[in-house]
């Protein structure tokens, strides 16, 4: 299968919505792409390496990350102990979405391994990723919050 035939937009939307619904009881609605501007945010990332390689990034504002953490762990916002807890939850979300993408790629005949998640946090920064064969960015809304999911794939050689 050629990567250009791989239905990345459908898979990435489905995986994100399933993970948010199952783990967080949050129903996401898709919306137009938005810029986080100088809002402080957290990015969870996982990479794929193999005959197909790729990256999945999930961007959420700090406040949404805390809401996600509280929902995931079944606690109130003021019960969150530390940034580590929030980073771990966002990392786990990126692992689940990246894991689904890896499964889809493997079912399409590619072989690849999934990295453990990494976290980037701060404000007023952009992540530019170049040289990919297929890329997709989709923005979801939950209440006043947005989550931006980016996925990039290419042949890994």
């Amino acid at each position: 299968m050629d990567l250009s035939d791989f239905d990345l937009p459908t898979f990435i939307r489905g995986a994100t919505q399933e993970v948010f619904d199952t783990m967080l009881s949050m129903e996401l609605s898709e919306q137009e792409l938005k810029d986080f501007g100088d809002t402080s945010r957290i990015v969870g990332s996982v990479s794929l390496a193999g005959t197909a390689s790729g990256t999945v990034n999930i961007h959420v504002s700090d406040s949404f990350a805390c809401q996600i953490t509280a929902n995931m762990l079944g606690m109130e916002l003021d019960e969150i102990d530390s940034d580590d807890e929030v980073h771990d939850v966002i990392g786990e979300l990126s692992n689940m979405i990246g894991g689904d993408l890896k499964s889809r790629l493997c079912d399409a005949g590619f072989t690849c391994e999934l990295s453990i998640p990494s976290i980037t946090s701060g404000k007023d920064f952009s992540i530019e990723s170049k040289g990919w064969a297929v890329k997709e960015a989709v923005c979801f809304q939950f209440e006043d919050h947005i989550a931006l999911i980016e996925a990039y794939i290419k042949n890994g050689g």
Partner: protein, 248 residues
């Protein structure tokens, strides 16, 4: 003495979800962050079950399992594998490793419990089960001949698990004591979400099975939102406890 369960995952989040899933049961949970820690804990603690993640730093779950299979003392401990990858190849690989079962993330705590109970029985914690004749619990309160079920402002998944755990014994206690009326009090609830809808459906279904008449109380705003859901659109909403009591 309950079961001893070892959860091995580099994610504290997943370990917490596993711990919470087993909270209503008589289990001791031991935690490891990677395969090396998992192996050491398995040898030291001799757990009844291991919940093992695949993708971990230092030593991954597949390597840990392979080493366990080489150890006569560890090779028969049942393992449920957790994986973020549902692909056919990955699933085949997991099955060939000799695990009892596997779960693909994302998963709910109750789904994990279902899988575990297929392998071994789980006993509910004695302290958590309502004693005979005891009507108080976190969400339940008896008001005359009406059982009140009041839920918090925000319903999360753990709330559903807690209510479900308490609901069946409570209904048994009620019907045994001749109590056939319940008010589901959502007046504190501000937010409509999937968990709330599931909780309402669970309560109504269980009450119907038990022959208990249940009336729902909610604010006008929440009542309007519930009308928009297929599952709750036809449920009559009362706007105060007094209205609901009068309706009985």
């Amino acid at each position: 003495m309950g079961l001893k369960i070892l959860t091995v995952d580099d994610s504290k989040t997943i370990r917490m979800i596993v711990k919470k899933a087993f909270r209503p049961y008589d289990c001791q949970i031991v935690e490891g962050e990677n395969g090396v820690e998992g192996l050491a804990l398995a040898a030291k603690e001799n757990p009844d079950l291991i919940i093992l993640d695949i993708t971990m730093p230092v030593m991954n779950g597949a390597e840990m399992l392979a080493k366990m299979k080489e150890e006569p003392e560890l090779k028969d401990i049942p393992v449920i594998m957790l994986t973020a990858e549902a692909g056919k190849d990955n699933v085949m690989k997991i099955v060939q490793l000799g695990v009892k079962d596997y779960m693909v993330k994302p998963f709910k705590g109750e789904q994990l419990i279902e899988r575990v109970t297929k392998i071994m029985p789980l006993a509910e914690k004695k302290g958590d089960a309502p004693k005979e004749g005891e009507s108080e619990s976190k969400y339940f309160n008896l008001d005359g001949d009406i059982q009140m079920l009041a839920v918090p402002a925000k319903i999360l998944r753990p709330t559903i698990v807690e209510v479900e755990t308490q609901l069946k014994p409570k209904l048994k206690e009620m019907t045994g004591g001749g109590i056939k009326k319940m008010i589901l009090d959502l007046s504190k609830t501000k937010e409509t979400n999937v968990s709330l809808i599931k909780l309402i459906v669970t309560v109504l279904d269980n009450c119907q099975i038990s022959g208990v008449k249940v009336l729902t109380v909610a604010s006008a705003a929440l009542g309007k939102e519930l009308k928009d859901f297929q599952e709750t659109g036809n449920i009559p909403i009362h706007f105060s406890i007094d209205d609901a009591k009068a309706a009985f």
